[in-house]
C-alpha cells in the first residue's frame, strides 16, 4: 500500500491494533451496563417482556463478565454471539416513541442494533492477534 502523503507513514505501526482496539472498547462499554445493572439503578426494563422477566443480577453479571471477556478476547466468539443475541432481543423490545425515527441516535432500537452488528463481526473474526484466545492457544 502506497501512502498518498508519504510523511504519514509513521502511523503504520498502529495498524495491527485496529481490530483489538475496537473489540476492547466495545467490551468495556458493555461492562458499564453490567456494573449499572448489578450495583446501581440499572433495570432490565429495556428487555421488555421478551423473556418474561429475567433476573437483573443474572443479566448484569453476564454483561460485566462477558464484557470483560470480549474486551480481553477470551472465548470471544461464543461470548460475542451471546451478547449479540442479548442486544438483538433488546433492539426488538425497545419501544419506538411516536415522532422519533428508527434511524436517529438515542433511545431507539438503533443503538442495540449497532451493538448486535458489532458482536456479529466479532463472531466472524474471533479474538484476533491481540487476545487471550490467541495467548492461551485454544479458542472456539
Amino acid at each position: 500500500m502506497q501512502k498518498i502523503i508519504p510523511g504519514l507513514v509513521w502511523y503504520r505501526p498502529f495498524e495491527p491494533f485496529a481490530y483489538a482496539f475496537i473489540r476492547f472498547c466495545t467490551g468495556a462499554i458493555l461492562m458499564v451496563h453490567g456494573v449499572d445493572r448489578l450495583f446501581y439503578r440499572g433495570s432490565v426494563a429495556d428487555f421488555g417482556a421478551s423473556f418474561g422477566h429475567p433476573p437483573v443480577s443474572a443479566i448484569g453479571a453476564f454483561e460485566l463478565v462477558g464484557g470483560a471477556m470480549i474486551a480481553l478476547g477470551l472465548l470471544t466468539r461464543p461470548i460475542a454471539l451471546l451478547s449479540g443475541l442479548e442486544w438483538f432481543v433488546i433492539a426488538l423490545a425497545v419501544p419506538l416513541k411516536p415522532g422519533s425515527s428508527w434511524f436517529m441516535l438515542g433511545a431507539t432500537p438503533h443503538y442495540p442494533s449497532i451493538i448486535t452488528a458489532m458482536c456479529l463481526a466479532f463472531v466472524l473474526r474471533g479474538g484476533g492477534y491481540y487476545s487471550l484466545d490467541r495467548l492461551l492457544g485454544k479458542e472456539f
Binding site: 495498524e15 438515542g106 484476533g128
Partner: protein
C-alpha cells in the same frame, strides 16, 4: 499490516470442525464493522442533506459555540452523507474516519453527555463513544482487505 485474518489452525480450535467456516468468515469481521458503522450515519446524512435537517441542527451547533452555525451544519451534513458513503466503500478511510471521530467527540461531550449522561436509554453519550471508538480503530487500521483503498493500492 492490519490484523484481519490470521491463519486458522485446527489444533488450536476447541471444535476443530469449525476451521473451514472460520477460514471463510474471519477476513470479513473488519469490513462488516466498517460498513455497519458507516451506514449508521447515512440516514442522518440524507436527512441533513436533502430533507432540511441541516437548518435544524444549526441551532444546536450555535449553542456549542461554532460560528457560523449554518456553515458548520452543512459541513456536518456533507460528512455524514458523503463520509458515510466513502467509509462504507473504504475510500480515503483514514481521513474520513478521523473527521467522524472529531464530530463524535463534539457530539458526546457537547450534546449527548449533558442531555442524558452515559446510558443510551436516556439519550446519553455511550452511543457516540462506541461509534467513536470504532472510528479511531478505522484511523488505526485503514480500509483493510475489502476496500477501495486497497483496490487502488494507495491510502492516506
Amino acid at each position: 499490516m492490519i490484523d484481519e485474518a490470521g491463519t486458522v489452525d485446527e489444533s488450536r480450535l476447541i471444535i476443530p470442525q469449525l476451521a473451514g467456516i472460520y477460514r471463510q468468515a474471519a477476513s470479513f469481521g473488519y469490513v462488516v464493522l466498517r460498513v455497519v458503522i458507516a451506514l449508521v450515519f447515512l440516514p442522518a446524512g440524507i436527512d441533513k442533506m436533502f430533507l432540511g435537517g441541516a437548518a435544524g441542527v444549526a441551532g444546536a451547533i450555535a449553542k456549542l459555540g461554532f460560528a457560523p452555525p449554518l456553515v458548520w451544519a452543512w459541513i456536518v451534513a456533507g460528512l455524514e452523507f458523503f463520509g458515510a458513503i466513502l467509509l462504507a466503500l473504504g475510500l480515503f478511510t483514514r481521513p474520513v474516519a478521523f473527521a467522524f471521530a472529531v464530530e463524535l467527540t463534539v457530539i458526546a461531550v457537547g450534546i449527548m453527555a449533558p442531555r442524558g449522561g452515559f446510558f443510551w436509554t436516556s439519550g446519553g453519550a455511550e452511543v457516540a463513544l462506541l461509534l467513536e471508538a470504532a472510528m479511531i480503530g478505522f484511523v488505526f487500521g485503514g480500509g483493510g482487505r475489502y476496500s477501495v483503498d486497497r483496490l487502488i493500492g494507495r491510502e492516506f
